[in-house]
């Protein structure tokens, strides 16, 4: 452990990168953060993720791991001395993986649509987004976190969304808290954790970034 070399190739507004930052912080792993220019990709990024050329990439002792949920599982398996992200029971593990997959397949895609689409497509995306958050609220139930008393893989996968809420609400004309108070209460509990607050950028900065992207992509 003492000679572990950990590097994270990331991009500050990326929710996928935020997931990895939170996990490394939860586990107390020291690492070198390298912010990437996605419009001028570095040789290191292209070399360590030749298939997708995307961030985040975790480089552990020279070996790269890509795809954020896969990185989370890797981190959990290697640094298994504290803050487990997955339970030990196989059935509960399968449920956690199912919901983490749901977050990827549904929440991120729909969230993206709320700031990048218009008209009917936007309205349909907004409705489905809220419906999916409500499903997560049911799954959370009375627990403080999806992981129980501590952050689990579902919490870590989902909370980065929170830094993008102001973007969804502003451009999608959405109001999340009145519709999903349980979800917002959960998010606020996550924000009490240092591993989360030091990994999530300021909501205003994310909004400025989204505004710039919308202009570049011609959505404005």
């Amino acid at each position: 452990m003492a000679s572990d070399e950990v590097v994270l190739l990331d991009f500050w507004p990326s929710p996928f990168g935020m997931r990895v930052r939170i996990a490394l912080a939860e586990k107390g792993v020291k690492y070198e953060y390298k912010n990437q220019d996605l419009w001028n990709k570095s040789p290191l990024l292209l070399q360590t993720n030749p298939v997708h050329k995307k961030i985040p990439v975790l480089i552990h002792n020279g070996k790269p791991v890509c795809e954020s949920l896969i990185v989370l599982q890797y981190i959990d398996e290697v640094w298994n001395h504290k803050a487990p992200l997955l339970p030990s029971d196989p059935y509960l593990r399968s449920q956690a993986k199912f919901w983490a997959d749901f977050v990827d397949k549904k929440i991120y895609v729909l969230g993206w649509k709320t700031w990048s689409t218009k008209g009917e497509e936007l309205e349909a995306a907004k409705k489905e987004f809220i419906d999916c958050i409500k499903l997560l609220e049911v799954e959370l139930g009375d627990k403080p976190f999806f992981g129980g008393e501590t952050l689990g893989i579902v919490d870590v996968s989902l909370i980065p969304l929170y830094s993008w809420f102001s973007v969804y609400e502003k451009f999608g004309n959405l109001s999340i808290e009145p519709e999903c108070p349980v979800f917002v209460a959960w998010a606020k509990r996550c924000l009490e954790k240092e591993s989360v607050t030091k990994s999530l950028p300021d909501q205003d900065k994310v909004c400025d970034y989204a505004l710039w992207r919308r202009k570049v992509l011609g959505y404005e």
Partner: protein, 217 residues
């Protein structure tokens, strides 16, 4: 011990066949329940209310959905014939390629069976499969000497699904010319002692593909 294992599946689905392959490789007995996708039973909707899809594995009354999640569950629950390697880095690599097959290869291959811009779709699919072939290198299976997690997730490519679709639709994707190592792997796959007993009946599959993708009169 009173183990009760049920699988909600569809005979021709590569997704539910993956689960069957894993169960058979591990020697797990299960009850097979064929689902009518046009008329989903209350039981399926109860066990998979979120996605309402197959496969769903129900183990002692507890349901698990999403084939890749099910495969990992099976691997953790029944220890014989391990599907994923023990080393965390190797596991991450296996999960990466399984995800690549699922999220990139399969949609690209389905596009080739569609009628829009087929030439471009075939080019893209071939590029993706080339990446997969590079990962295989000179190994007999993605899992090494024996079948593993990635081989099972690649069943659509290794089994008869892709071969039959490409013949019916009239496209050349997985050919000995284009992808010699992947072709060799797919021969090993369909001839594996357990896999060959667990592929859908070929004539039924071909007939289904003819109806779905064949030239319209």
């Amino acid at each position: 011990m009173g183990e009760e294992v049920k699988l909600f599946a569809v005979w021709g689905s590569p997704f539910s066949r993956r689960v069957e392959m894993a169960l058979k490789l591990k020697g797990v007995e299960y009850e097979y329940i064929e689902v009518d996708l046009q008329n989903k039973s209350d039981l399926l909707l109860k066990y998979n209310p979120v996605h309402k899809k197959i496969p769903v594995l129900v183990h002692n009354g507890k349901p698990i959905a999403e084939s890749v999640v099910i495969l990992e569950y099976i691997d953790e629950t029944w220890k014989g014939f391990p599907l994923l390697p023990k080393d965390p880095y190797q596991r991450a690599m296996a999960r990466f390629w399984a995800k690549f097959i699922e999220e990139k290869c399969m949609p690209a291959l389905f596009k080739c069976a569609g009628t829009e811009d087929r030439e471009k779709a075939v080019e893209e699919a071939c590029e993706l499969l080339k990446l997969l072939e590079n990962e295989l290198e000179d190994k007999k299976f993605f899992g090494g000497e024996n079948i593993g997690f990635v081989d099972i997730v690649a069943d659509f490519i290794g089994g008869y699904w892709l071969r039959d679709i490409q013949e019916i639709v009239g496209v050349k994707i997985l050919t000995r010319e284009n992808l010699p190592k992947l072709c060799e792997w797919s021969d090993e796959f369909v001839n594996h002692v357990v896999i060959k007993e667990n592929l859908p009946p070929r004539d039924k599959l071909i007939a289904y593909f003819r109806t779905r993708f064949g030239p319209k009169p």
